[in-house]
Amino acid sequence: MQPFTYTMPRTVAEAIAAFRQAGPDASYIAGGTSLYDVMKLDIVRPRHLIDVSAIEGLDAIETGRDQLRFGALARMSAVATDKTLLRDYPVLAESLWKAASQQLRNMATVGGNLLQRTRCLYFRNGTGNPSSVGLYPCNKREPGSGCAAIGGLDRGQAVLGQSDACTAVSPGDWPVALTAMDATVELAGPDGSRAMPIAELYRLPGDTPHLEFMLQPGEIITAIIVPKTPAGRRSTYHKIRDRESYAFALASAAVALDMDGDHVRRAHVALGGVGTRPWRARAAEQLLVGQRLTPESALTAGRAALEGARAGKHNGFKVDLGARTVADALMIAAERSA
């Protein structure tokens, strides 16, 4: 790891000023559970770390007003156990407590979570990693070097949104739940403040997989806003993994339902574990409107959610698994009382 300077500003303005002064080799750090990890792997090499975790007032969780508001520095463990969320928006709480471990959730912030790096094995087992089984090209790590996952051991790779340059999965669970629930991200930066729908935060890899987020240099996420909806109560985050706990998703589905009897008035559906970004399934949502929800109609919606999926050598199972995960999630959510 290359040496770096370390500062801990107390306000957003101070943090932005510090970033401006430090220049392009600067990076913000919050919990550090993603950034410090990839620094240890020598994938990211900042020369200046600006620790935003001591900024005051950026960790508030507000559920009492007309929208839900999560300060970017709220810890995952705090948001996961919020009583209002557990009751009225289980999809949000579940996406957090089913992620990582309690130790990591105590460190990680809900803002940093949005910008965590992929777990693609070829991305991680690269430069300077003494425990790697070798060095692999990776366009995300070294633009233009190639992608060893394509045609390689691709069991974990994406089946939606991949390009000829990159098939890495977008790893987070919380971003998938937020995508389903139409969240907005509040930003502050050198050129002022703005708000961005979460759907616009994530890029598809295309031929520039090293560019992942639509943030300007020096921009800080200050808060995440989720509009309130009666569909929140009938919601779930269903996560399928290689083991029952403490693993990233092979496939996951965030769903929320607004029901009229056993008919769907409106559905929110997003997928994780299968796409190169959090994947909103609009086609599935539209199919469900006005439908009676049965295991059959749920599976039809699940198949629609995976429309356009392309598998590699070893990840063909994700197409069917993804569809069934959506179907099961819909049935679980429908069981919940509004």
Partner: protein, 217 residues
């Protein structure tokens, strides 16, 4: 205020050339790691004393850290790259917290930071500034064992013991969080601690047992 031996000033005076060679020696460690793990030299030559002298770095790349560890306030100048785990083990010689993966994946390095369990390997030491760290060494307040430590013995909740300090620190926090309500919930909230020996059945039993004692205490 107690100060653990700190020869940082001394270390800072190490001349630049030696500094560089030490660093490249560390980098060379990556290549060495793939060699077979045999030690060629005489056994006496193996370092036994804990290394408390920190590798010298430019002042700009270090931080002055003042933190409370197991109830003692310590003040050190540390390399900004240092993890809390390396700080505890290499500078304070508190080797209870273990390095299993160094990437947040195994839980062997679990300690409490301001009462909450964290993976010390993914926590920058600098983040402990002004906060309270409790390690396995500081868990019991005197001669006696903490109920969780005793329960791990009573229920045979270990084999090699490498994961045990992390398991115990996680388990104590789990009980304090109110998560020891069922076997299922204990398993879910202990899933961040991997045991390669597979002592999981004993670990869950120990936590259930200790939880009832901790609640009574």
């Amino acid at each position: 205020m107690t100060n653990y031996a700190d020869d940082e000033d001394q270390a800072a005076k190490v001349d630049a050339r030696q500094n560089v060679s030490r660093r490249s020696a560390l980098k060379g460690g990556a290549a060495l790691a793939v060699l077979p793990l045999t030690f060629e030299g005489p056994a006496e030559a193996q370092p036994t004393a804990p290394m408390v002298a920190g590798v010298a770095v430019e002042p700009a790349h270090s931080v002055l850290l003042s933190t409370s560890v197991n109830g003692k306030v310590v003040e050190f100048r540390v390399d900004a790259r240092s993890s809390l785990l390396d700080f505890l083990r290499e500078r304070l010689a508190l080797t209870g917290a273990k390095k299993g993966c160094d990437h947040g994946q195994c839980g062997a390095c679990t300690v409490h930071l301001d009462g909450r369990r964290v993976a010390s390997c993914l926590t920058l030491a600098a983040k402990a500034q002004g906060r309270e760290v409790i390690t396995i060494e500081g868990l019991s307040d005197g001669e006696g064992l903490h109920p969780m430590q005793q329960a791990f013995i009573d229920h045979d909740a270990l084999q090699c013991g490498y994961c045990t300090p992390g398991q115990i620190m996680a388990a104590v926090a789990l009980v304090n969080e109110g998560n020891a309500t069922s076997k299922e919930r204990i398993r879910e909230y202990m899933s961040g601690n991997i045991c390669r020996c597979g002592a999981y059945v004993g670990i869950v039993a120990a936590i259930e047992d200790a939880a009832s004692k901790m609640r009574r205490a």
